[in-house]
Amino acid sequence: MRALLVAALLFAATPALAQADGAAVADGRYQAVLGDCAGCHGDDLSGGIALETPFGRLVTPNITPDRDTGIGSYSAADFRDAMKTGIVQGKALYPAMPYTAYARMPDKDVDALFAYLKTVKPVRHAVKVNQLRFPYRWRFLMRIWNLIFFHPKAPDPASHSAAWIRGEYLVNGPGHCGTCHTPKNMFGADIKPILGGALLQGWFAPDLTGDAQTGLGGWLAADIVTYLGTGRSAHSIASGPMTEVITNSTAQMRPGDLGAIAAYLKDLPPAPGNTHASLRDVERMKRGSSLYQINCSACHGLDAKGQGPLVPPLTGNAVVNQADASTLVRLVLAGSQGAGTKAAPTRPAMPSLAWRLDDRQVADILTYVRANWGNQGTPVAQDFVGGIRAGLQDGQSASK
């Protein structure tokens, strides 16, 4: 009997789907690309992916149109609320869902996205979303958080080009780049410098401002377009979480939108305080240089210039110069695989060297790399490497 009812419901739904506006669905699919829904909700959008936060664990919900476990029961208005206010059917969402950024999206785009989500294959997958610690598991607190920190606003368009305006919108709206690249306060809310680089889950999402060393000051707008479109540029190869942002989102964006993002990012003034003159410890440099020649030069080159699309240069590479060297340490210890895109399918990988290099050796190599070939990163301390190694190993054993 129940099966019959379900079948009836499905039948009832089918004509509605057939009538769905094809153009809106296509546009909605593109909105899903811009917003990188798959990044957190999975390729089939059925959720269940754990996000570790300082406040506990959040698990992403199922956003397929399954009625019981997904968003099949949402109305378009419910969905709009979720996307733009963080409140849905009377419940407050946590800002792991970047509604603070999605709030910038016009209703038309949100509705298109909803129309698209209605067409994806429903997946029955119940997810226990809230696994936060006390008191963060009290959802009503988020209403207070919203009052204090949530003030979406668009900049004054008067003084900017159309590309800049589009770019600003994509970066701070659906693209929600600041979710990773903007530093946060103890409540998890954005603080300045906006897009100045931030640490998350052991990766340092680099500075995207105009700083010549740590940011994109040395990049041409075309480099940014190439990087987002292919996963690599003359300056860098994407690593860590950014590889999936590229394959799921930016590599599928329209060239005009990538150009707009580049126009906006190239206009960001350098974030203050990110560049530091390095102090040179001669003995460390000697050790670092020797270890670099043994471990690194066969790919990155004695001149650190890298090898085109295969190996990133270590000179003029923003990842090398970030104030926080977490990403670098992580790359050396665990290795990393580049993004795979149509234009750059190689997916070259950095080998893991945690088994070979001790904390001091990693620190010596990175300190040497950050102080040479025009780089100006601060020295990397042995303890800092040790901390990251211990964290990675804990994570590894915990997940076994």
């Binding site: 946060k184 931030a198 979480p241 020649q293 004695l302 695989q337 893991s352 915990a398």
Partner: protein, 245 residues
């Protein structure tokens, strides 16, 4: 591979603190791979350095014999310490205690027939068993012919025994397809392996043999020297685990 287990998917909202988590990284064996190029953090199979203390395969008598033999094969001189101090006996012991000694990679199905020289070893004994048999038989031979143990012979006399094995004048009937000469070649081969292999396996202590030859070891980039014909390479050797002098 389950995309949801890929670590880079796990993203985080707002956080200034690192709370890394990793997916299980062991690369699964025997599997279907489609739609992506597999990779996982920390993946790899680095070698485990041997512990230099004690004996894993040899008993005390065998160990003493092999230590003496490797010192005769590789005598101490101004070029390097002797085979024993370079760790060659430890190397052989660890090799015999492991996969090599057990013959894990060889084909061991019968029937076992006497072969022609072109057909290679056709006996039933894995290398570890060949050592045990040969060391015992050799010492008994020395007991009978010289009324003492091999290790108690003077260095020159030990050398003479090894030469006798090599040239066949000491004929030990050990097992089908395995005589004294065969044992000598196995011993010489393993001793040289120990002397010239990466030090992580117990021999070539302090990279002594690499320094002697001018072999730079585990380096991987000679682009800065390929054009410098007839000039010594300026850097000393490094090994898999030793990169600083």
């Amino acid at each position: 591979m389950d995309a949801k287990r890929s670590w880079s998917r796990r993203r985080l909202l707002a956080s200034a603190a690192a709370l890394p988590i990793l997916a299980a990284t062991a690369v699964a064996l025997g599997r279907s791979i489609s739609g992506e190029l597999p990779w996982s953090p920390f993946a790899g199979d680095p070698p485990t350095p041997v512990n230099p203390m004690g004996w894993y395969f040899f008993n005390a008598d065998e160990a003493a014999m092999v230590e003496a033999m490797v010192d005769r094969l590789i005598p101490a001189d101004d070029l390097t310490p002797g085979g024993k101090d370079c760790g060659c006996a430890v190397f052989i012991d660890r090799q015999l205690a492991g996969s090599f000694g057990k013959g894990d990679r060889s084909y061991w199905a019968g029937p076992f027939l006497p072969g022609l020289p072109t057909q290679g070893y056709q006996g039933k004994l894995a290398p570890a068993a060949r050592y045990r048999l040969a060391l015992g038989a050799l010492n008994r031979h020395v007991n009978e012919t010289r009324k003492t143990d091999f290790v108690k012979l003077a260095a020159d006399d030990q050398t003479a025994v090894l030469k006798g094995l090599e040239d066949g004048s000491i004929a030990l009937a050990l097992a089908p397809g395995f005589g004294g000469r065969d044992f000598f070649s196995l011993l010489l081969q393993n001793t040289m392996e120990g002397f010239f292999a990466d030090p992580l396996y117990g021999g070539n202590r302090d990279m002594a043999s690499w320094k002697m030859l001018g072999f730079p070891g585990a380096r991987y980039d000679y682009r800065d020297h390929i054009d410098k014909y007839n000039q010594p390479y300026p850097l000393g050797p490094v090994s898999i685990y030793t990169m600083e002098s």
